[in-house]
């Protein structure tokens, strides 16, 4: 059975303390700290260096989805501190990488995420193959919502799983609209995700990116558990100092 948790960005945008409070109340075994905006990166890294990632069985950190190439080295150095101190997984969008050599040192701690249709790379199995050729040790953060957004039939998602399921570190789960907005599961996306959920190894955690009102967070967890299977024993102990 797998751990299911939330992205802090989905629970409370730019308010990590609130997100962790909500996450704590859910008793989840996994969490993803989200610094999707460049200006969120440094404060969140500092927070984690000081407070630690909490006693989750699985924790990851989402690198900014946009930054200038001249900032890439500084971004990598900041993220390296998290790996060095807390052995976290780092999620990165393949289109922000200019110098793959900088990221290669992250080894298996680096998770490349498959993209939605707006990005020019990393959307399909063939495009991911090109990325993994440059980052041979990197793992995959399989965003099932993105795979569904580019192909509602899920045959491209199937192809990605068939070729890269052994690389998967964790799943990003949400319904992604045609305009690429992350939202709660609908019956249509839940049915689509169920088609391939059995191909995801049992020990792979699911991070929910469903932007959900506070009162519906528990429902999203239950729905995710029904789609992907959920850990009965979350083993979660809250982060200290909140």
């Amino acid at each position: 059975m797998r751990d299911i948790g939330f992205s802090t960005g989905a629970l409370a945008k730019s308010d990590v303390r609130k997100a962790l409070r909500l996450s704590c109340g859910l008793g989840t075994g996994a969490v993803e700290y989200s610094a999707l905006r460049f200006e969120e990166l440094s404060p969140l890294v500092e927070f984690l260096l000081k407070e630690g990632p909490g006693d989750y069985r699985y924790s990851s950190f989402h690198a900014p989805s946009q930054f200038k190439p001249e900032d890439e080295k500084a971004v990598v150095e900041l993220l390296w501190k998290l790996i060095d101190r807390h052995a976290m997984h780092i999620v990165v969008h393949p289109d922000v990488i200019s110098d793959h050599g900088l990221w290669r040192k992250f080894g298996t701690r680096l998770c490349v995420e498959n993209m939605d249709h707006r990005k020019p790379v990393g959307r399909t199995a063939d495009e991911l193959e090109e990325v993994f050729e440059k980052l041979p040790e990197a793992r995959l953060c399989f965003d099932i919502g993105h795979a569904h957004e580019i192909d509602r039939s899920m045959s491209r998602a199937y192809e990605i799983l068939k070729r890269f399921r052994n690389r998967i570190a964790h799943i990003h789960a949400s319904e992604v609209s045609d305009e690429c907005a992350h939202r709660a599961f609908s019956p249509a996306s839940a049915a689509a995700f169920r088609k391939v959920a059995g191909m995801i190894p049992d020990n792979v955690p699911v991070i929910l990116e469903t932007v959900t009102p506070d009162e519906k967070i528990g429902t999203q967890m239950e729905e995710a558990g029904a789609i992907f299977g959920q850990s009965k024993d979350s083993g979660h102990r809250p982060v200290s100092g909140r």
Binding site: R123, D126, R152, R163
Partner: protein, 361 residues
Amino acid sequence: MPWSDSLLRKVELNLGVQLPNIEQAFVRSEEAMDQLREVVGTALPDEVSFVAFGSLARKEYTSGSDLDWALVIDGRADSSHRELELDLKRRLTDCGKFKDPNPAGAFGALVFSHELIHCIGGAGDTNANLTRRMLLLLESTDTNHLLPLAPRQRVMRGILERYFEEEAHFPGKPFFPRFFLNDVVRLWRTIAVDYAAKNAERGHEKWALRNAKLRFSRKLLFAAGLLLAFETSLFPDSELIASAPSTFDPDHPALSSTEHCYRAAQLTPLDLIARASMSPATGMDSQQVRRLFEAYDVFLGILDSEGIRVKLAKLSYEEAIREKVFENMREVGHQFQDALNSLFMNPDSELGKLTLKYAIF
């Protein structure tokens, strides 16, 4: 793609035959597609594909070919799509390089993914919808075909997934896409019935040309549809993408069949025959393959000759049997039919076994 890299050139080399008319049509098709891309341009909205059907998509474009096209839309309805359609119609007319599609036909219009994917069978599935859906799978190409996420590609996957997802299948038993096969057979029989209806409506006008197309290109389409329905049975390990071969997955028959057949559906009907003929798995007799391609080459030669086309276009049913041009076409049509029969109905070949088991009763 240059002719020298094509599957059809490999057939020429394998069989030791010359297929000059097929080659000329292939080269002409590549040139026409380049011209079409120039006219249509690349600035289409994300949700729109300009899709070409018919002889251009089959790479059988001759001097007499018209351009069957549609704007396939997979996204929100938008009133500006109509403006786009009218603008493209104007541009295609103004450029003077393409003949308009039949105004009474299924093309030259906006086509929406929802009808194509959801209206399979039942009262909502019109003749035009069946034609568009099946031709999208069997003979289509788009001006942005190199984009991996073009709407045409999404819709093709969506249609295939519906056929395979809804296939009645008992776990652990062999998976065969009867739903899809039945629609292929249905298309072929619909074409044949519509041929009779058009003769009744239009009389002698272009009757003999329609007859020639029914004997060759429409029949070829049916043969290609059968091969696509047999794809995962004949090629459980497909070689179509060398770096990542598709393998039929009995644990996920619908998803793996969608991926598998989607790739095969990128081939033209002649390519599908060529590929099958070069695979030992199908057990196709090379002499019959040769007869088939030679006959089809003659057919494309007929369509490419303006003199013969004009003669056939004016021919009445009563005159036809005394007209040498028609009689020659008819005889070559029999050769084509005999070759297809030998290839698809041979009970000792894998292809024949599949046809006899699934395609008739």
